[in-house]
């Protein structure tokens, strides 16, 4: 049997069910490895003591019918966890201990999973490198001083470094798929309305979705099956019949029509990514898929649209952080001064920048020129996809325009940081499902990902295409454990 922490969720579940491993052994193995991996700065808060107790409890009365029987899982620190500190990577929530549980994490625990702890992320999920976190940047296990992507950077790094078998992140403009691409892991953003947003610290409500981040496509299907559910507590949760994603997982994609959008061939894209994309196309052909050239004419307008819509929603959502009912408070002579000092000291620079953009585009006299304009362009972007999906079953693109970059390389230029999400943002604007799978490496040996985009509620199809491609690509991460201490 291979080392416990390097096993997939599928293997661990099987080993538990066949009584070859106990929940206690597995939980301890992940905790021991985390203790030696502090250099990566992956955990904001650990739940190790309670996790050990819960694993013993599971072992004394195991239920093998559950989908995650006694499996320890760490989650992004954006999910509210009852009784366990939830910070969203921000000083303003540094001492916040929720008295309720997010629906998505509740779904994990209901299927037998055990909380290992809370994973570092960009502050309020605003960032593409995990550098905006109040708790410091995360190291990418792929190489020293490399960003793990963001905003789910602690999550992607935790999966790649074997600190958790699988995890869940959130994705507003690429925050699951871009870090997955940067770390050689799999990340899926479900259709808007598939996973409940209840209990997730809100960033941009019309774009936010939770989703699985895993070592491989099969694990991804297993986890999606658990977290996707209809929820009365989220008014935009959609009531539809969900697949048994893992049961229906199949490599048979013969006859599937896969679209290749010409607009995703952007200026200055490295040759390696162009080559990666070509390889993906040829693998899809080998699997019997039909390749069709398509056009998504408004692609270039997606990022500017996103940087109006997302900050606008964020500025409204983050108005609640006023130092009155919970979170950090800075005292003031009067109420207004208290608000202003609390928010000035409690939020980091990127969050303030986005609140300012959002406040400006929603302010009197500018609403029509910016916000309304963006909502109209969003309609055009959605229509591009509607038109494309009348001809194809799925769309294949690169996940990111580059591999992981060095820590500090892009922090002084917000716009260059925003360009990271050029291939992922349109999918959130259109509410579609998208998955990033590791597909190759660049000249530095850093991972690169391919993205498969599907029709609304067609997660099964993009999982199947990814499953088939994964088999052909046969990606190996070869991470050296350079960060381990004794």
């Amino acid at each position: 049997m291979s080392d416990i922490t390097s096993q997939s969720l599928f293997e661990l579940t099987l080993n538990i069910k066949e009584k070859k491993l106990s929940s206690g052994e597995i939980t301890k193995a992940f905790i021991d490895r985390a203790e030696k991996s502090k250099k990566l700065n992956i955990y904001v808060t650990d739940n190790f003591e309670k996790a050990i107790d819960q694993s013993k409890k599971f072992d004394s009365n195991p239920n093998f019918d559950l989908k995650l029987p006694g499996i320890p899982i760490a989650v992004k620190d954006l999910f509210c966890t009852n009784g366990v500190r939830t910070t969203a990577g921000s000083k303003i929530l540094n001492n916040f201990v929720p008295t309720y549980e997010s629906t998505v994490t509740q779904n994990l625990w209901s299927q037998g999973a055990i909380l290992l702890g809370k994973l570092n992320c960009d502050e309020f999920a605003m960032g593409s490198s995990n550098e905006t976190s109040f708790f410091g940047n995360v190291q990418n296990p792929v190489g020293e001083n490399l960003v793990p992507g963001g905003s789910s950077g602690g999550s992607s790094a935790a999966v790649a470094s074997n600190l958790t078998p699988v995890t869940i992140g959130t994705d507003t403009g690429g925050s699951i798929r871009q870090p997955a691409s940067f770390t050689g892991t799999v990340g899926l953003k479900p259709t808007y309305g598939s996973c409940s947003r209840y209990g997730i610290v809100a960033f941009a409500s019309s774009l936010d979705q939770a989703g699985p981040m895993t070592k491989n496509v099969r694990d991804c299907s297993m986890l999606l099956e658990v977290i996707s559910s209809f929820d009365q507590k989220d008014s935009t949760s959609i009531d539809y019949k969900r697949n048994n994603y893992s049961k229906e997982l199949s490599k048979d994609i013969k006859g599937k029509k896969i679209g290749i959008p010409k607009e995703y061939r952007v200026d200055n894209m490295p040759d390696e990514i162009e080559q990666l994309w070509k390889n993906g196309i040829s693998y899809a052909k080998d699997c019997g898929a039909e390749i069709i050239d398509i056009s998504l004419p408004h692609t270039n307008y997606a990022l500017p649209t996103y940087y109006i819509v997302a900050p606008a929603e964020a500025s409204s959502n983050l108005a609640r952080y006023d130092g009155v009912k919970y979170g950090f408070r800075s005292p003031g002579q009067n109420l207004i001064e208290m608000y202003e000092k609390t928010r000035s000291e409690g939020f980091g620079d990127e969050v303030k920048r986005r609140i300012m953009i959002g406040t400006y585009v929603l302010s009197s006299g500018y609403y029509d020129a910016y916000y309304l304009k963006a909502q109209k362009v969003r309609q055009l972007i959605k229509k591009d996809f509607d038109d494309a999906f009348s001809k194809v079953d799925a769309i294949l693109t690169p996940s990111t325009p580059s591999s992981a970059f060095k820590i500090g390389e892009k922090t002084n230029d917000p716009v260059s940081m925003y360009l990271n999400d050029i291939f992922t943002v349109p999918i959130n604007l259109a509410g579609l499902p998208g998955i990033s799978i590791p597909a190759g490496k660049d000249k530095n040996n850093y991972p690169l990902g391919l993205q498969v985009i599907g029709k609304p509620f067609d997660e099964q199809n993009i999982l199947n295409i990814s499953y088939a491609l994964e088999d052909k690509i046969n990606f190996k991460n070869d991470i050296s454990d350079w960060w381990l201490s004794e």
């Binding site: 309305g193 307008y301 940087y307 130092g323 009912k325 979170g327 208290m338 963006a374 055009l380």
Partner: protein, 95 residues
Amino acid sequence: MSIDLKTVKHISKLARISIDDEKANKLKGDLNNIFEFIEKLNELNTDNVQALTSIAETTLRFRKDEIKSENIREKILKNSPEENKDFFVVPKVVE
């Protein structure tokens, strides 16, 4: 168009975030870069396009108007920055 220092200070007032002159100047630069990038949308004619207001295309659900009596006062006050029995404490607002 460009955003001047006065506008930056006005937005910061609206957003209830106090900023000093140094920060305001830095923000002015950042915001102008970002808005230059956003202005690209003006290339598009959207006169006859309907704004997208909901991606899910569903109407909001109704639920029964039921009273759920849970005693959650303690839970709600648990994270309050300044405690005083059953209330949230803020600086004096009435002179």
